[in-house]
Symmetry: C2
Subunit: 224 residues, 2 copies
DNA sequence: ATAAATTTTTAGACTAATCTAAAAATAATA
DNA sequence: TATTATTTTTAGATTAGTCTAAAAATTTAT
């Protein structure tokens, strides 16, 4: 069925998936070269190969999109990545800011039975340590209604359910401020001067978050 | 300190380690080509590269041995391989005949902290599911006095502690016969005709094992 | 000690993945 | 629409890892 797919090819597929996901568009050569940190020329080479393998839809000078096959591969990679991150945090006691790079390696292990056993061992989690949904064996993502904290209005409150970024720096900042998943947040005030936002943390501590932070935090709005 | 070592280079180092270990000699080009399933020409190429990186002692037409550095790398790989095999069996409920190939992939994950956390999570095991010793973080192997079942004498008894081979076929055969690690074995009779051996299993069941099987089984001799 | 057999290395070529520099196509602007 | 700027592709090289066929070195046997 599927041709053999190298680790490098897998990474390109994931990059294309992310770009198409985030920007809701087809991925351009430069977008990919940017995401992969390789030259545009290398990307063009790779696009030809992926196209040959029917993993992407490619026509010169037009952007690319994933085929059904390509999309399945990318989704399985994301599934593995997030399951391993969950394992590292839940079972091996890693902190959430240290697991991404290790999962980048683990996601390439090819052993379908391993993935399913790992999933069971972890209790079939629906979200990873950063609040990102873990697709199931069929590639289905659990959908959750969430907004960026920056879009919440004064007086509203909600619970932190995810982060947009998983850089070590950002996650460590959140740890320091006690902004872990599950934290209750109430919006006290918003300052249009610099788009910073003042919040109340678990009804206890008030603090001000920068625009950048509040755009990278997902909350689930609670009414009343 | 260490140069970057590719997955392929790691596999060569492990192959050389195994050959030198088993045969107690330096490894020849053909030995390695045999173990790695690559041509002798490819091996020569690789030996030059490994030598350049000071991982092996190499002189044209002489065999090769691992340097201190090379030996350390190989030992860490074996440590990772056996820890992962233990994880797969103990935590994910894989049977012992299915874990080797997956561990061949997992052993290449580069994340020192992961290895130590995995070790702790597993309770710092000293032996893997096949009875092979797991080197500690410093590369020390636990030594255990063991003999091949084929070397035991009539009337002696012992306990199965390991296997020489981890092929799926052999391990499945052992499962079928109830010859798992920890089984008590008493030698009833030895047939010089074909070097087969008749044993009593856990004081319950008698059976005859071929020469090939008895040479691939390690027991710890018990006196009394 | 020669000759024959075996082992090992060299020569030359191929593929995947990468690069830089230059050319071509497309998009934006005047 | 013509010019300019940006994006993308091509051309030509490089490196790691592999191969086959042939040459060279070493070992074994006569
Ligand atoms: Mn991640
Ligand atoms: Mn994540
Ligand atoms: Mn193994
Ligand atoms: Mn083992």
């Amino acid at each position: 069925m599927l041709p053999n797919i190298s680790q490098t090819e897998e990474n390109y597929l994931k990059a294309i998936f992310n770009i198409c996901e985030k920007e809701e568009k087809s991925a351009g050569t430069n977008d990919i070269s940017n995401e992969m940190q390789t030259s545009a020329a290398s990307v063009t080479d790779m696009l030809k190969r992926l196209s040959e393998k029917k993993l992407i839809n490619y026509a010169k000078y037009k952007g690319v999109t994933l085929t059904k096959k390509g999309s399945e591969v990318a989704t399985q990679l994301i599934r593995k990545h997030r399951l391993w991150e969950t394992f590292l945090v839940e079972k091996l006691q890693f902190s959430w800011d240290k697991v991404h790079d290790i999962a980048e390696q683990l996601e390439h292990i090819k052993a379908p039975e391993l993935v399913e056993k790992l999933d069971d061992f972890l209790g079939n989690p629906k979200f990873d340590p950063h609040g990102d949904p873990i697709p199931d064996a069929d590639g289905k993502f659990t959908y959750r209604k969430q907004i960026q904290l920056s879009d919440a209005k004064v007086g509203e409150w909600g619970v932190v359910v995810g982060v947009q970024e998983d850089s070590e720096k950002f996650l460590q900042y959140l740890d320091k401020q006690g902004l872990v998943l599950g934290t209750r947040i109430e919006i006290i005030e918003k300052f249009s001067y610099d788009d910073s936002i003042q919040i109340l943390l678990n009804g206890e501590k008030e603090l001000v978050l920068s625009d950048k932070v509040s755009r990278n935090l997902f909350i689930q709005r609670k009414n009343n």
